[in-house]
């Protein structure tokens, strides 16, 4: 993959300065900068906000590019790489859901694989205040709606809830997700073994593209209910390590683009 353009809106944006330093062409013309060179691109990543993405999509949908959406707009097909990466071939607009969704949905999916009787999921995501920029704050409701909708869609349960908490502690806290699940029946020892295996296997597969992903609390049971917690530590290249929420969705975007890129290459060779 080769980055052809990094577009922003603010001349003084620190992100644009970093991109420039890496020798990447930058534009301060936002989506218009992208549209000008659209015929030279295979993939466009949108890291703006949900409303902005809805309008960007109007300009992009008639083109050939794959659109990887890092906002919680929920327009495209939702992709959680460890769960349904194969779906990148199904649509032009690929939604990365939300940072909390990228962290928690793999766990919910693994639980449901182990115990099909589970009928309720709840994901509580706690992030450092400093890792939540103006778009995240403005999109709080979109975050909840999109996380809940994809949680239901990818696990098949009818009832799900998402909660987001910002914590301003200094030094900043690492991104953390807790997944709660309820079953129609109490868990047997055999169920618990299956759950432990399934959850740890999927966590290992997420950590292949997000190295700082780890389970911080193995499943704890209370009657027909259980809870599991994970933490995401970023790799700390450009973003601070605590901002695992930003890292996990960026890592997912790269995993998604790489697999679409292979498709593009294959098509070109054929």
């Amino acid at each position: 993959m080769h980055c052809k353009l990094f577009a922003g809106r603010r001349k003084d944006s620190p992100g644009l300065a970093i991109a420039s330093k890496h020798g990447i062409t930058v534009s301060t013309d936002g989506i218009n900068g992208v549209l000008k060179i659209l015929n030279t691109l295979d993939v466009v990543f949108d890291c703006t906000g949900a409303d902005a993405h809805r309008s960007h999509w109007e300009s992009l949908k008639k083109s050939h590019v794959k659109v990887v959406d890092l906002t919680p707009s929920n327009i495209g097909i939702p992709i959680i790489p460890s769960v349904n990466l194969q779906d990148v071939h199904c649509a032009q607009n690929l939604s990365l859901v939300t940072c909390g969704g990228q962290g928690a949905i793999p766990i919910a999916y693994a639980l449901k694989q182990a115990i099909p009787d589970l009928d309720y999921f709840e994901v509580v995501n706690t992030i450092a205040s400093k890792s939540a920029g103006p778009a995240t704050r403005d999109n709080l409701d979109d975050y909840i709606t999109t996380t809940e909708s994809v949680l239901k869609r990818l696990t098949g349960v009818k009832d799900a809830k998402a909660i987001l908490i910002l914590n301003p502690a200094e030094p900043c806290i690492n991104m953390k997700s807790t997944v709660f699940a309820s079953s129609r029946n109490a868990f047997s020892e055999h169920d618990k073994e299956k759950i432990t295996r399934s959850v740890n296997e999927l966590a290992a597969s997420v950590s292949q593209y997000v190295p700082g992903y780890r389970i911080t609390m193995q499943p704890v049971y209370d009657g027909k209910n259980l809870m599991v917690s994970i933490e995401v530590l970023g790799i700390g290249d450009y973003l601070p390590r605590y901002a695992g929420n930003l890292d996990i969705i960026t890592a997912a975007a790269i995993a998604v683009a790489q697999s679409t890129n292979q498709v593009v290459k294959r098509a070109a060779n054929a």
Binding site: V124, T126, S129, L140, T145, I163, N167, K176, F180, V220
Partner: protein, 339 residues
């Protein structure tokens, strides 16, 4: 000089509910609303302990839905205003606020952690657009300075809030802190300032009176202090103390005592009491609503309340982080087992 008029807000049917695992019934809600309405209380806050949309595995499921409790309260209310508490991150406009407005709720009080006021911007603006009142509050306000609180309160004022209440959610305020923080807000804002106390250090009534003396126009109190752990500011003693200090309220103290007696005889399971864990929690500044979860995690994993509180304090836990209590207890238990 005419005496200062104080608005009395009773969150018994919301914050109090933490003490009984969010199990208030529509019958209790209706009867208690009638009684405090007759007693002249201005505003009743109704719903799950953390407000609209907060019924969850994380904090606890409500026995009855937001809509069901709202219906009971609205039908019972004659003069009193029925208010819904809203924490953005738990509730959304579409799922929770719009249906509440549809039901007839015309007063909302938004709560954000004391440094995160901008999370409620969109919600406040929506409520204002619908012609409803948007009161606001800063939760766990003992954690930051008066200046930081003022910065955050100015944002809320800017978004269209009608008031800002400082919540001493952990019952951790000292009296000089109340003076400092309330005075700073009263001087810096054009909108009303309020105070919401908890009783961990036995200072809730004193702090409420001090807040009024510093210019706060709204104070919160619950029936007999009904609330998790050490409880909230007891509304009966608070109103009596305010009247002694020559503040006016719309409340008839004798009728208020009858409402408290009803609450005590029905939905208050145990009267709040400042136990060892309540003092520890107030001293370390731990969210009062955590109390039941801390006690249950301590019993389940065989770890002391003090160790859990210390670790919650180290990690600067904010309201709504109940999952952290269990994670801390599980990991402390592991550490003990390894030693």
């Amino acid at each position: 000089m005419p005496s200062q008029q104080i608005t009395i807000l009773d969150p018994s049917l919301r914050d109090g509910s933490h003490a009984i695992g969010h199990s208030l019934t529509p019958e209790s809600v209706a009867r208690y609303v009638q009684l405090i309405d007759a007693a002249g209380v201005d505003i009743a806050e109704v719903g799950h302990g953390l407000g609209l949309g907060a019924s969850s595995a994380q904090v606890g499921f409500s026995k009855f839905s937001d809509a069901c409790l709202n219906r009971a309260a609205l039908d019972a209310a004659k003069r009193i205003k029925i208010c819904n508490f809203v924490i953005p991150g738990f509730a959304t406009v579409e799922r929770d606020i719009a249906p509440a407005i549809e039901q007839g709720i015309s007063v909302f009080r938004f709560g954000t952690h004391c440094t995160e006021a901008d999370l409620s911007k969109r919600h406040i603006q929506f409520v204002r657009k619908q012609g409803a009142t948007a009161m606001t509050s800063l939760i766990m306000s003992h954690m930051v300075s008066a200046e930081t609180l003022l910065d955050q309160a100015l944002k809320l004022q800017d978004y269209g809030a009608s008031s800002v209440t400082l919540m001493d959610s952990a019952g951790a305020y000292s009296m000089s802190e109340t003076t400092d923080k309330i005075s700073t807000l009263v001087e810096g804002l054009n909108i009303d300032v309020g105070f919401h106390g908890h009783n961990n250090l036995s200072l809730s009534v004193a702090n409420s009176v001090i807040a009024a003396k510093c210019g706060a126009k709204i104070v919160d109190g619950t029936a007999r202090g009904f609330g998790a752990g050490a409880g909230n500011t007891p509304i009966e003693t608070m109103v009596a103390a305010l009247h002694k200090e020559q503040f006016s309220t719309n409340v008839d103290l004798m009728k208020l005592l009858q409402a408290g007696a009803y609450a005590e005889a029905t939905f208050i399971e145990t009267l709040p009491c400042i136990t060892e864990s309540g003092v520890i929690s107030g001293f370390y500044g731990i969210c009062g609503a955590f109390q039941k979860h801390i006690l249950s995690a301590s019993a389940r994993f065989g770890v002391s309340v003090e160790e859990i509180c210390q670790e919650l304090s180290n990690r600067k836990a904010v309201a709504g982080q109940e999952d952290l209590i269990y994670e801390i207890a599980v990991n402390l238990q592991k550490r003990v087992a390894n030693e």
